[in-house]
Amino acid sequence: MSIEGANDTGSGPDDGGLATPDQHWELRLYTAGHTPKSVRAFNNLKRICEEHMPGRYQIEVIDLMRNPRLAKEDQIVAIPTVVRKLPQPLRKIIGDLSDTERTLVGLQLRSRSP
C-alpha cells in the first residue's frame, strides 16, 4: 500500500508568506482500505502541504480496516477524513480533497469568503 507509513515530515526551509509561519502542522488522514478515493485524498493533501507549509507538517495515515477502534475514539464517520490535530482548534475535512479551495478553507489556510 503506497500511502501506508507515509509519515512524511517536510524538510524545506521556512519560506514565509503565511500568517503563522512557524506553526507546526499535525494532520491525520483516515482511510478504510486502499481505495481510489483515499489515494486521491493523500496525494491532494500532500500537494497542498508542500505548497503551503513545506517542512512544517506531518501526515499520519490511519487505516480503519486495521485499527477500527480509532474510528470511535476519533469520531470518524466519513471516509476519507483529514483531522487537523495541530494547530488548534481541531478541524475535520472530509472527502478526497479534490476541491482545493474548500480544503484550504477547511484547514483555515484561507478565509471562507473567496
Binding site: Y30, K37, D96
Partner: protein
C-alpha cells in the same frame, strides 16, 4: 377474523421460540409489555423497524427497552448507536427507569457508540462515503455478537453533511448491509410536518413502522402508539395508549371488542340481600359488567362498597379505583354505614387505589388500571366513578369500551359508578357503553311530599329475571336497606308518604279488627238469645207433654164415671133394660 386468528397463532410460536416456522414471518420479541401482543410477536426479525414520533414521545426508551430485553431475556446482545446523546447521558437517562446498562456493557451483552457529527468543524471537499460508520458498527457488532441494533436517531447525519444524494445512497447501503447480517434493527426518527419523519426515513424502512404520539389535551398529556405499517403480518391497527413509569413502557394491548369471552352462570352477591332478590335471587353474574348510575348523593358509592365488601367476604380479591375520595375517606365513610373495609384492606383482599382523575388523561388511567389488574388478578373491580375520567369524546369512550371488554375477557366482575349530571335523562346512554353493560342499576332521588328520598331500579340485567319495581332504600348504620314497596294512587310512595300510608294501613287494619270483633260479639249474642229461646220452647213443649198425660188420665176416669153412672141409672129403673 381468520387472518387475526392466524396472526395470534403465529405470535404464540414466535413469542417463545426465537425461530418461527418457515411459513410465517419470524419476529423478534421486544419484551415491552403489550407491544408484542399488538404486533403478534414483536418486530420483524432480521429487518429494520422505524420508530418515529415527536420530541419526547419515548422513542429512545422504546429502542433501549428493545435492546435491554433482547440482551437480558432473549439472549440477543445488542448495539446502541446514538447520534444525539452521549453514552453517559443515555445510561443516566435510562437508569431512572430501572435499566442497568453499565452492567450489561460490562458483561459484554450491550455495546454503545456515540456517533457525533458536528457540522461546524467539518468541511466537505469532494467525494466521500460513510465507511467510518460501517467500520464502527461492524466493530461493535462483532464485540458483543449483536443480533439487535438501534440507530437513534440516524437523522442527525442529515444535519452533519450537505451532500444529500450521497447521504441517501449511503443510508440505503447501510440498511442493505444490516439486512445482510440479519440484524433486527430499530431506527428512530423525528416526526416531520406531513411526513412520518423529517428526512423521509420511511423510504428506507419498508417493513415495520411504529408511530409514537404524545399529545396534550386540556393540559393532560397522553401517549399513544400505533403500528402504521407491518408488512407481511397482521397487527393491531388502533392507537394504543402507553405509559412510561418505573417499569418502562407499558402498552395497553386491549383488542377491540371480541365477543368470545367465557360466560359464567355463577352468581356473585351484590352484598345487599334484597338487591340480590331483585336480580332474580342471586346477584350479578360473575364476569359481567355493572353500571350504577345516579345523581349526586344517591348512594352509588355505598352500593359499590357493599359489592366490594361482599367480594372480600367471599375470600376473593377486589380492586377499587377511586377517583373522588382518598382511601382513608372511603374507609371512614363506609364504616359510618356499617361497612368495615379496613379488615379487608388488612387481609390484602381489598386494594383501594385513589388518584385524581385530572392527574393523567383517560388513556393513562386505563393503562394503569390495566396494569394493576394484571398484577393483582382481582375477581372484581370497582371504578368509582368513571364519569369524571374525562370521557367526553368518541375516541375516549372507545377506550373505555376496550377496558370493559378486557375485564370481561378476563372474567372479572366490574362495577362502574357513574354520576349522572342533574337534569339529564337518567336512562341516557352513558358514553355509549350501555351496550356493553350487562346489569344497569339506576339510583334516583324521588321528590314527593316535600322530601327527597332514594329509589333504586334495574334498567336492565341480561340473562336473569329482574324486578321491574322502583324500590325505595335508606342508608342506615347497617348500610343500604331496601324497603317494602308502597304503591299509592300516584305511584310508589316514599319517605313520610310511605310512613303515613303505613300508618293509615295500620289504622285501617285495627278498625277492621274491631269491627270483626264487634260482629263476632253480636253473633254470639244472637246465638245466645236463640239458645235461650230454644230452651224456653223446649220447656213449653215438655209442659204441654205433661198436660197431654193429665188430660188422657182425666179423660179415662171421666169415661169410667160416665159408664158407672149409666149402669147405676139402669139399675135404678129396673127392667127397663129388659124391655
Amino acid at each position: 377474523m381468520n387472518d387475526l386468528a392466524k396472526g395470534r397463532a403465529t405470535s404464540s410460536t414466535t413469542g417463545t421460540a426465537n425461530h418461527a416456522p418457515v411459513s410465517t414471518l419470524p419476529k423478534a420479541p421486544t419484551g415491552i409489555n403489550g407491544l408484542d401482543e399488538i404486533t403478534f410477536g414483536g418486530f420483524p426479525r432480521g429487518r429494520p423497524t422505524l420508530v418515529c414520533g415527536g420530541p419526547g414521545c419515548g422513542k429512545t426508551l422504546l429502542a433501549m427497552e428493545f435492546l435491554v430485553h433482547g440482551a437480558m431475556r432473549y439472549g440477543e446482545p445488542g448495539v446502541y448507536v446514538t447520534f444525539e446523546e452521549s453514552e453517559e447521558e443515555l445510561a443516566q437517562n435510562v437508569r431512572s427507569l430501572g435499566f442497568d446498562v453499565e452492567t450489561l456493557v460490562a458483561d459484554g451483552k450491550l455495546a454503545f457508540d456515540y456517533v457525533h457529527v458536528d457540522p461546524r468543524e467539518i468541511e466537505e471537499t469532494g467525494e466521500y462515503d460513510l465507511e467510518g460508520l460501517f467500520v464502527r458498527l461492524a466493530l461493535a457488532i462483532e464485540a458483543v455478537g449483536a443480533r439487535r441494533v438501534v440507530l437513534d436517531t440516524i437523522e442527525a447525519l442529515f444535519g452533519g453533511f450537505t451532500n444529500m444524494a450521497l447521504l441517501r445512497s449511503e443510508l440505503r447501503r447501510l440498511f442493505r448491509w444490516l439486512k445482510e447480517r440479519e440484524l433486527t434493527v430499530v431506527i428512530t426518527g423525528e416526526r416531520g410536518g406531513g411526513t412520518l419523519t423529517r428526512q423521509g426515513l420511511e423510504e428506507y424502512v419498508s417493513d415495520c413502522v411504529i408511530l409514537l404520539d404524545h399529545r396534550v389535551t386540556d393540559q393532560v398529556s397522553t401517549r399513544r402508539l400505533r403500528v402504521v405499517k407491518y408488512r407481511g403480518t397482521s397487527h393491531g391497527t388502533n392507537e394504543y395508549p402507553f405509559l412510561i413509569d418505573v417499569d418502562g413502557i407499558t402498552v395497553l394491548p386491549v383488542t377491540s371488542a371480541g365477543l368470545d369471552h367465557r360466560v359464567s352462570d355463577e352468581r356473585v352477591s351484590t352484598g345487599i340481600a334484597r338487591l340480590d332478590a331483585m336480580l332474580g335471587g342471586g346477584g350479578f353474574y360473575r364476569g359481567s359488567s355493572i353500571l350504577v348510575s345516579g345523581t349526586a348523593g344517591s348512594g352509588k358509592s355505598t352500593i359499590a362498597a357493599h359489592f366490594a365488601d361482599a367480594t372480600c367476604r367471599h375470600g376473593e380479591r377486589c380492586l377499587v379505583l377511586a377517583f373522588e375520595e382518598s382511601r382513608g375517606q372511603i374507609v371512614r365513610n363506609m364504616r359510618s354505614v356499617g361497612i368495615d373495609l379496613s379488615a379487608h384492606l388488612a387481609s390484602g383482599l381489598l386494594t383501594i387505589e385513589a388518584s385524581r382523575p385530572s392527574l393523567y388523561g383517560l388513556e393513562m388511567h386505563l393503562a394503569q388500571i390495566h396494569r394493576r389488574v394484571g398484577q393483582l388478578r382481582p375477581s372484581s373491580v370497582v371504578i368509582d366513578p368513571i364519569s369524571n375520567l374525562g370521557i367526553n369524546t368518541v375516541d375516549t369512550s372507545a377506550m373505555l369500551l376496550r377496558l370493559i371488554d378486557y375485564l370481561k375477557s378476563e372474567g372479572i366482575t366490574a362495577l362502574f359508578v357513574s354520576l349522572t349530571a342533574g337534569g339529564r335523562a337518567l336512562e341516557a346512554t352513558e358514553f355509549g357503553v350501555s351496550s356493553l353493560i350487562d346489569t344497569w342499576l339506576v339510583l334516583r332521588d324521588i321528590e314527593a311530599g316535600g322530601e327527597r328520598n332514594r329509589g333504586l331500579y334495574v334498567i336492565k340485567s341480561r340473562g336473569m329475571h329482574h324486578s321491574n319495581q322502583i324500590r325505595e332504600f335508606v342508608i342506615s348504620s347497617n348500610g343500604i336497606e331496601l324497603l317494602d314497596v308502597y304503591v299509592g294512587p300516584d305511584g310508589v310512595l316514599t319517605g313520610s308518604l310511605r310512613s303515613s300510608q303505613e300508618a293509615r294501613e295500620r289504622a285501617a287494619a285495627s278498625a277492621r279488627e274491631q269491627e270483626q270483633q264487634q260482629r263476632q260479639r253480636e253473633l254470639a249474642t244472637r246465638r245466645a238469645v236463640l239458645e235461650a229461646q230454644i230452651k224456653a220452647l223446649q220447656h213449653e213443649a215438655s209442659t204441654l207433654d205433661a198436660e197431654i198425660g193429665h188430660e188422657s188420665v182425666r179423660y179415662a176416669s171421666a169415661t169410667d164415671t160416665i159408664e158407672r153412672e149409666r149402669q147405676a141409672a139402669a139399675r135404678r129403673r129396673g127392667g127397663e133394660e129388659s124391655e
